[in-house]
Symmetry: D2
């Protein structure tokens, strides 16, 4: 009820803070028989890791997972998968000031209000490092989805005022995304974004952006018609990530200016099967997957921690200034990609298991 | 697991389709002692009702609730509140065609894919009429929140390309919202919106828009730090409503173009208490309420049912055309307002109860 | 969270009290395609109904269900099944005294303590009439289980000191159970039980007993290894019924006096498949079904309402006497059978759906 | 959904098997501000530990917990408490045979049936070592309950045919329970039990028993009236423990032979408050706590692993014999006590938090 579990059939529970001993993650509900090892987790963990490039924080974190359970002789055995991550680089001194002063844009104030006190050595439970568990769990989900023919991919589609519009999201490859440190698959736009982030960084500031996330191969029928619409669970998943300020799918906010005759996607006959001519519905109708690619976008705010003095107050309400020390991403977008993919994978794998349980009775 | 329940401590479960006998709604977890009668449900049900004005469908529905349980001698008694709504105006003949043809933008195709067949007499479980239960439950939630000093209000902020920017959402009154049938609190913008909707209707088309929703008086500390962030649960709640294509809060998608130095809200000292100078964080930091007003916006697509012939396919995959009959809203926004308010109230009341359960231990 | 929902994948939510307008029941998660009508619910509802024989209360209740949703053209359609029952025979005058005095053995006192007040017209939410929803939902579950080759049956195995030991529970038929009003399948024991209940009734008293419940055809593999053991969920289901004071399965409490060498059931080879020579494990090993019949027993207390004056206190704590009026079962066992079967069916159908969702990945 | 989480507001999630790297446990929902350290966990972990006396297995296990999160500056901080236990004494060679043969009374066969294969190095997820996480979580729950004035205690009340009837369960002290290795508070009975267990052990056999568990100080009003009755959740909690074959509370199975006039507990006036003259209702009426001590009993089977050759089959269904090696408890009762207490504490703390959230609205 304190909200540290995600999912209904494929359930992820996490614990840990950035400046304590480390993180624990328990994945419950992964079917038996899936080949799995630490090597399956590492690629996405590396994509999430700080210090990958000058676009991201230079902080070095210990991101090596230990699998405690749930895998036997190289395959999942149906019992819960326990994973831990030790913290190492705990430069608490860098953060000293935040024990007494509220960082603008951070959760320091709201944590104090909620719990009466907080772990002031870092972001505590609201640290972005918490996503390490999600990315590990997402890697398991992705592998399971691959067995069902479902592929998840995210990329950066906007940084500041530089927009990279991908015409056909289904053709983007992981290689294209990983080709540049900014994770935008259109090379010229990627270059502009990199230049912008660099200039923002030199300006002791940060910049926001948008990520687009795509799932290809989702069969029609996933999602529930009322409260647990697939779009609703994706929205929750994305907004549960730090710094996410908005979610849209398909035509998204553009629908506000559209007419029904423009926005409706007409159905076309097979081959190979009934499909739509266009995908303004982002692969979901009535909250249920249509078989078209699922496409959504999330808005991510500029990093709140900027190396500038900012006006604020102390815990006791005295006006003051704060200079947040430490190394922070000038732009969160590049490292967001594996996090967004992980959450998308967790939602879809959960609905895929629900879909298996809910198959109609056939006449016998 | 089939997703017909919403909430954890204040739980709403619904059943029913538009062309069956009616709807059932069970509200579980409402504390005992709240004065409640049918009269408390009627105002929002009337706001949701079709046929209120020429801006909405002229269909007449029977929206009178019957309370079966949970209220004794004028007060909630702690047991589940059961409510039913009878359907009356079941003009199934109007919908005849949709048994065999897929309406563009509707869930007919995805329902068939999911369940093997569907109630073809109307939208079935994906009919907008399903929201009648949510609005009734939301009215109970709102009344409970009023006791906690929390007030929920929504209004239309965009229809097509007409935008009505409210400078201070906390000053908008219910009277201002209800002053025009379009539920936009800025009179001149309301007039423009009404004219646009009217012209779209005469054009046999429909138009989308944006609604802004505000909660005032939410104390700091509601929401959980990881998966059940308040923003995440609000996003899910909104995306669980039909036709909603996007959600944002605070600065929303505008953050993509902002710098940290622009976007951060600085903290100011009391009086009366620690607060922020601006509210680009939409009343939530780290997914937890900050005490500032909670402000979010949702994008709503143009009604999919338009009185025009559209290209589509039959259930067996033959190309055909469909002319969706019946009376439909040319713009969903006016009737969306009570639905959006209801979902916002359900999320906040749920977190308010969780907050009560989770109060820190005090030294004794 | 107020506990009016049972099940995870096959979820039953109920509302209603004995002296209000009636009861609502929503069954969520029943797969589409199961033939279903009111006629499928009636047989078990009749078995549960008061006034069947002189062994049970002579009160006449209106037990006719109305199905509001979830069934289309004679089959479940995957959407929630809504069912209502109107109350009719509301002889509140019979209960007048209980508004101010606490009935011994009843929940009047605990309800007042919990909610601050209570519906004093009858047992309110703790009335045995609440089980009407469970029996209806159980009938749906049973029908679904029949499709999976699983059959549920209960019977009375003890009333007072009269024990009816069934040597092979799998051979008992519904006809044998229903042959006498006491629902004990051994005719001579049934006659003794009937005589005992009759004498207890004439003595203005009531008597307790034990019911045995059996599920045949459950495949091996249902149930989860740790908290959601099948035995654990069965225990909860049974103890959630009014008047149930104990649960045991297989050898049950007799194990306290047994040695491992006596109690272990040895495995035998096929044909037709690996099985055990004996069934002291009651069809569950490690909380997971073994393929042997699932056999459990529940202890049911003598009806608390007896037509005698009893010592008690008023709401304000004054000592007094109470004579509980109205018509009550002198023995709850006969009418318990359909309730116990319903709860057993709800547990097994839920785990059957979970089992389908959790099937191991096969190599492909 | 795979059932590795227990509780709704105070939630415990566990992972791990007896012969892998170790166990992880995440406790979610513990309020902030409770003083907590490893020292609070150790006493109950020591009581659960193998090798305490000749009555229990001589196996030495590493039961030292590491707290990863959820505690800051000596107090819980409201974030999830992560705990791990490393396995050390992994004598897998002792268990070699069980890879291919099914141990009678164990879950080997049902695990293979469920998952297609299993961790054959030990009991895997069904090993009693799994309870180490429950005992740690229970210690936290107990400490929280102490703050609410609620005390939990268990003891052995029967081993084989030796019964130790405690006349007033509320007067038993922890010291009395811990005075002998068998954990029976009546010294002469304890001596008889010890002698019996010893003789059974020398006989290469095992013996069952009964444990009584008591909660004192529970205020009236905990528990929900329908499915989540306090008695139902206690039953589930106890049956979720390995080897538990039955549960009863208050008069339990004895009610089968009782009349209502004998069984009803009459209410008495204050001082100090309304109470019952007797406690055959075991502290729960209508599934809600009455303020009287909560008293329940559980039946525990004789250890399935006995150092004797037993008839069985191989995984492929060939008849064979098995001699289960390793060191096993000749009687599970002494080590069951901390496990039973832990589960009782987890249920009551969960309902205590629900009770706080569900407090009636007062007129203002």
């Amino acid at each position: 009820m304190a909200g540290n579990t995600f999912g209904k059939l494929f359930r992820v529970t996490t614990a840990g803070v950035s400046h304590g001993p480390g993180y624990l993650c328990i994945i419950d509900g992964c079917p038996a028989g899936l080949p799995l090892s630490v090597d399956d987790l590492l690629p996405d963990l590396l994509r999430r890791k700080p210090g990958q490039s000058k676009l991201t924080t230079q902080r070095d974190e210990a991101d090596t997972p230990e699998i405690w359970s749930g895998v036997f002789e190289g395959k999942t055995d149906g019992t819960p998968i326990g994973i831990s991550f030790r913290n190492q680089d705990q430069r608490s001194k860098d953060y000293g000031d935040i024990a007494e002063k509220y960082r603008p844009g951070h959760a320091d104030f709201t944590f104090d209000a909620k719990y009466g006190f907080r772990d002031y050595r870092g972001g505590g439970r609201s640290s972005a490092r918490e996503t390490i568990c999600r990315v590990a769990a997402g890697a398991v989900a992705k592998k399971l989805l691959m067995r069902a023919g479902i592929r998840i991919l995210g990329y950066v589609s906007q940084v500041g005022n530089i927009r990279a519009e991908v015409s056909d999201p289904t053709t983007v490859t992981l290689e294209q995304v990983e080709a540049t440190p900014v994770r935008c698959p259109i090379p010229e736009k990627a270059a502009e974004m990199i230049a912008l982030i660099d200039s923002v960084r030199l300006d002791c500031d940060s910049i926001g952006g948008v990520s687009e996330l795509v799932a290809v191969g989702v069969p029609p029928g996933l999602g529930e018609p009322v409260f647990d619409k697939l779009k609703a669970d994706l929205a929750k998943a994305m907004l549960s990530l730090p710094a996410v300020m908005g979610f849209e799918y398909g035509a998204g906010f553009r629908v506000a200016q559209m007419r029904g005759s423009e926005n409706n996607d007409v159905f076309l006959p097979p081959p190979p099967h009934i499909h739509t001519a266009t995908n303004r519905h982002g692969g979901m109708l009535g909250g249920i997957s249509s078989g078209e690619p699922i496409v959504c976008r999330v808005a991510i705010k500029p990093t709140s921690s900027i190396p500038r003095s900012q006006q604020t107050v102390t815990r006791t309400g005295e006006p003051t200034e704060i200079l947040v020390r430490g190394r922070h991403d000038p732009c969160l977008l590049p490292r967001f990609i594996p996090m967004g993919e992980a959450m998308m994978a967790l939602v879809i794998v959960d609905h895929w298991l629900r879909w298996k349980a809910g198959q109609p009775m056939t006449d016998t």
